[in-house]
Amino acid sequence: MTRDVAVLGAGMHPWGKWGRPFVEYGTAAARAALTDADVEWRDVGSIVGADTVRGGYPGYVAGATFAKALGRQGARVASVYAACASGAQAIAAARAQILAGLAEVVLVVGADAAPKGFFRPAGGERPDDPDWLRFRLLGATNPAYFGLYARRRMAVHGDTPEDFALVKVKNAAMGALNPYARYRKRVTAEEVSASAVVADPLRLLDICATSDGGAALVLSSIDFAQRHGVPRPVRIRAVSTVTPRFPNTVLDLPDIATDSAVAVAAAGETFRASITRAAYEEAGIGPEDLSLAEVYDLSTALELQWYEDLGLCGAGEGAKLLREGVTAPGGRIPVNASGGLASFGEAVPAQAIAQVCELTWQLRGAAGDRQVAGARVGISANQGLFGHGSSVVAVR
């Protein structure tokens, strides 16, 4: 029995700052995915939503909201919150239902209307919430953490702000070719270095924006896909949703301190590396098998970190890989062919789903001007607040 599930359809609402309700973006993305799959909504057995709040984050509503908007037809419903990994965990829930035989066709939807500027926690006095505490006590925004990671790379690996800027130049060039991206203009290294510092050493153009957007997938059993006339669908082969291992010794959002390694030595492998290793093991592949990768470039410096955590190169060699063009279009393993978060911005519940939409289009050979030639195996990777991480392997 195969453990694969088929990606029958992928759809997105263009990302931007549209100022409309998230339900609209999610519903549009869902209808696009259903059309792409050639499946009627009334024939879908289950809907899984990645959560948001109406007008912010994190979440309470998703699956049921989209089911109502699409026209309730009695489908099984679930909603998932896992911060930035919400979309991938929604995919994981859908896949589990299909593999367990609970549903043959599942619609996965994520959408958000993000606040302007910095993300912030919900209101009230909530000192039992680490996310509230880091803002209240330290004013530590998400970019502050990205700044800490970037400075650490500079000190330990010798990365430079010029290296970071090259990530933006690369991703903006790809985003310029993507009709769903919010930013569709090429950017030069000079423009990055001329933008304002947000969190030293990172500048405005090193950090992804907050955006509105939506993404959706129609997943099914392989049998259903074949009966439906799709003999060679894009297949999801692995979904990693692992937690960190104690002691996590790299300061992570939104924590004020790491675990102590005084009693148990830290594993040689970081949390981010463990996320992708779990995906590789489940898929039975390694980094050498990849045709492309979609990673969370919340900051330019973080994309370089992912190269190492994906095993594309050794520790500290991310900038070298970038400079050699390995991760650029035409390189051995293009990263963020979609344009990445640099071009999309963050719409938290949608972005991990959007990564898989891009993998799907690439593996079908349907990615237009940004097509990675001969793409056969793709991986996505992300990390969210509170020790959430995920990685999806898709193959054709």
């Binding site: 910095f118 925004t141 650490r152 004020i256 301190a257 675990d259």
Partner: protein, 148 residues
């Protein structure tokens, strides 16, 4: 009218001047240290669980990394929107004895230009903000050998 000095968060630090310390807890069984304090149950998955006892953390450590905040953070951070925004530095400090990294604001006047990764810093009492009745206190990191 004098303001009452109140910790911005209860039980995380105590003392004055050179006696100021961050307060964590330590598991009596496996010796794992927790900051912010863990009073419920030891989070080491290899530990059967002991009692958690308060312990002061080391006063000095070395900079793991640092950054700053050039734009006003959103609430619940408290700042006066009437005044121009003054960036502050944030420092993540590795405490060698506890094998833990603790984030905190730098002492006033310390900027990113004053800092390098690996530099020694010490914990000092600081003020987070003040309102009409209360001075809300916190901890700051300050490079050692810098004047009071």
């Amino acid at each position: 009218m004098s303001r009452t000095r109140t910790p911005a968060v209860a039980g995380w630090f105590s003392g004055d001047g050179n006696g100021f310390r961050l307060l964590g807890t330590r598991c009596s069984s496996c010796a794992t240290v927790f900051f912010p304090r863990e009073d419920d149950h030891c989070r080491n998955p290899y530990c059967a669980g002991g009692s958690l006892e308060e312990m002061p953390l080391s006063r000095r450590g070395r900079i793991w990394s640092y950054t700053d905040s050039r734009y006003r953070p959103p609430s619940p951070y408290v700042s006066n929107p009437e005044l121009p925004w003054e960036p502050y530095a944030l420092i993540a400090v590795e405490l060698p004895d506890e094998r833990i990294v603790v984030l905190g604001q730098a002492a006033p006047g310390v900027t990113v230009a004053d800092l390098t990764v690996g530099m020694e810093v010490e914990v000092v009492p600081g003020v987070l903000h003040e309102d009409a009745e209360t001075t809300w206190t916190t901890w700051h990191w300050r490079p050692t050998g810098v004047g009071e």
